[in-house]
């Protein structure tokens, strides 16, 4: 039963700017990773080759800074448009439990987040593949990079129900966008500061696998904050998800809702 609901949710996004938003989220990360092609030399003066780990690190950093805003916009639009376009009357009159409708919306957001994350590392993966023809490439770096992206994508999803909750209550994409913009700003400051304590801010948790990948580069121990950060993120996810479920189940759709 989930499948037709998710397909319907994806259909609703046809001819919208959602797919542009996915590209917009992925493009800067691709652009930043191309800086790996700038001329570089090793400390002994020899030209440095392509460093996949470094590329993934830059891509992950860029992606995790943009993610809070882009992903909040995505779920905000998916949830709030039903109220804005007054399709909520029909949506809630379907013989489908409201919780399933909500889950389909969240699953659609997860698919879009996964697509954005996947597209954000296209240039890194492509560079790795092309470079493998001319130099020896550390295959494990490629695997680590993909793992890092998968984990960051999953952790980014942790704050999505909170943005969804704001969109439901506000019946507009604006509250989620404001939250996303604020979270992105804090994430930017947190990442620039390289402070491990920032992981306690839920939107900075996706930065954890990025930093983990970059341990070889920076040697900063952030493990101490990983678990508390995970617990805070999990709590944020669960509390906001439960709120969304209860709100969807109990909300009444009045004129002008």
């Amino acid at each position: 039963m989930f499948n037709p609901l998710i397909v319907s949710e994806l259909m609703k996004l046809k001819h919208t700017k959602m797919y542009l938003l996915v590209l917009l989220g992925a493009f800067p990360a691709n652009l930043v990773t191309l800086s790996a092609f700038l001329p570089k030399v090793t400390p002994d003066g020899a030209p440095a080759g392509i460093d996949l780990q470094d590329m993934f690190y830059r891509q992950g950093m860029t992606m995790t800074i943009l993610a809070p805003f882009i992903f909040a916009l995505m779920i905000g639009y998916i949830v709030s448009r039903e109220y804005q376009e007054r399709t909520i009357n029909q949506l809630f009159a379907y013989p489908i439990p409201r919780v399933r409708i909500l889950m389909a919306k969240l699953a659609t957001a997860l698919l879009l987040i996964a697509a954005t994350s996947a597209l954000s590392c296209v240039s890194t993966v492509a560079t790795g593949i092309v470079a493998s023809f001319s130099q020896s490439i550390d295959a494990s770096a490629l695997g680590e990079g993909i793992r890092m992206n998968a984990l960051a994508c999953l952790l980014s999803f942790g704050t999505v129900p909170l943005a969804a909750a704001l969109s439901m209550v506000g019946k507009s994409v604006i509250p989620a966008s404001v939250l996303g913009a604020f979270a992105a700003l804090v994430t930017l400051i947190g990442e620039m500061g390289h402070g491990a304590r920032g992981l306690l801010f839920p939107w900075l948790m996706p930065y954890w696998p990025v930093r983990e990948l970059g341990q070889g580069l920076e040697q900063i121990d952030i493990a101490a904050y990983a678990w508390p950060g995970t617990i805070i993120l999990a709590a944020t996810f669960l509390i906001s998800l439960v709120f969304c479920i209860l709100y969807y189940k109990r909300s009444e759709i009045h004129s002008g809702s």
Partner: protein, 306 residues
């Protein structure tokens, strides 16, 4: 006859204000139920409760013989609805909007989309984006969507809003056809007396949240029929004269000297002449009876209907 929809004591309160008050409604299979009331009378709130969009404060809803709170899913699969305004995904075209509905209703066959569009005369607009639709076209598309899954009951809230007179006539004909050919039961809310009068086989009048009366359209017609109210010297003899000389039995003797004659309303002089010729004295004669509008105004306390 099977009862399709029944409400018992249906009530909705907001804070201290009762918007729908103890409504007992009953709709039989094949009925076209006109739900008549002024703006703000509680029609839309009632329909929202019937579609599960808002929760009743008290009372029960029984759809297809089962209490709704236990079977909303199953019951709603047999119901089509337009509540207040037909909302659509404006970025999609008509067919795509109906395709979403088809998937949500779990229907397998895609041909139902073309059928529904053809039924409401929107075949040519199939690939047109809904954002370019007029309100009338959206209403039609809303009806197409409500019909798509072949419902047994259609709940339509002011379905002719935004339609021009020609469109209203077409829709009226469509509803009558659907009721007759497919056996669909309708609950149509409206604040337009004329619309309900021409469509409904049963009328529920709601005012101030209370269902004042449920009445069959035939009974209503009888109640609102014009007649000559007569006071005569001998009503038995008068009745005999009406039957023998004026050849009509369309009258009711209504007490001492009283008689209500439903024929000859526009020819009172013939009646008085016949009675006089038969030796019956006429003490009083007047045209009596309410128009449909007068009847509603009396029932609702005199506030004006549109």
């Amino acid at each position: 006859m099977t009862c399709i929809l029944r409400t018992v004591g249906l009530t909705k309160r907001y804070g201290g204000k009762t918007v729908v008050d103890n409504v007992d409604m009953s709709i039989q299979a094949g009925d076209i139920y006109g739900f008549l009331g002024q703006n703000g009378a509680g029609k839309t709130t009632t329909l929202r409760m019937l579609t599960g969009l808002i929760h009743p404060s008290a009372g029960e809803i029984e759809l297809f013989g089962t209490a709704m709170q236990w079977s909303k899913g199953k019951a709603m699969a047999r119901v089509g609805s337009i509540i207040e305004y037909p909302g659509f995904y404006l970025n999609l075209n008509a067919a795509e909007n109906l395709e979403i509905h088809r998937r949500m209703m779990g229907m397998g066959n895609k041909t139902c989309i073309d059928e529904a569009l053809a039924t409401v005369g929107l075949t040519d607009a199939k690939h047109q984006k809904v954002k370019n639709f007029s309100l009338g076209m959206k209403q039609r598309l809303g009806i197409a969507r409500a019909l798509l899954h072949r419902p047994e009951l259609l709940l339509l809230d002011e379905p002719t809003n935004g339609l021009d007179p020609g469109g209203i006539k077409e829709m009226r004909q469509l509803f009558l056809d659907l009721a007759r050919r497919r056996g669909i039961t309708f609950l149509i809310s409206s604040h337009l007396l004329g619309e309900v009068e021409q469509l409904a086989s049963k009328i529920g009048i709601i005012h101030g949240g209370r269902l004042l009366e449920e009445i069959g359209s035939e009974d209503l017609r009888k109640k609102t029929r014009h007649c000559l109210a007569l006071k005569v010297t001998d009503e038995q003899k008068a009745a005999f004269i009406l039957e023998q000389r004026l050849r009509t039995t369309d009258y009711v003797v209504s007490g001492t000297g009283g008689l209500r004659l439903y024929a000859y309303v526009d020819r009172p002089e013939q009646v008085s002449a016949a009675l006089a010729a038969g030796g019956v004295g006429v003490r009083e004669m007047s045209v009596s009876g309410d128009s449909l509008e007068d009847y509603f105004l009396k029932l609702t306390g005199g506030e004006k209907f549109v």
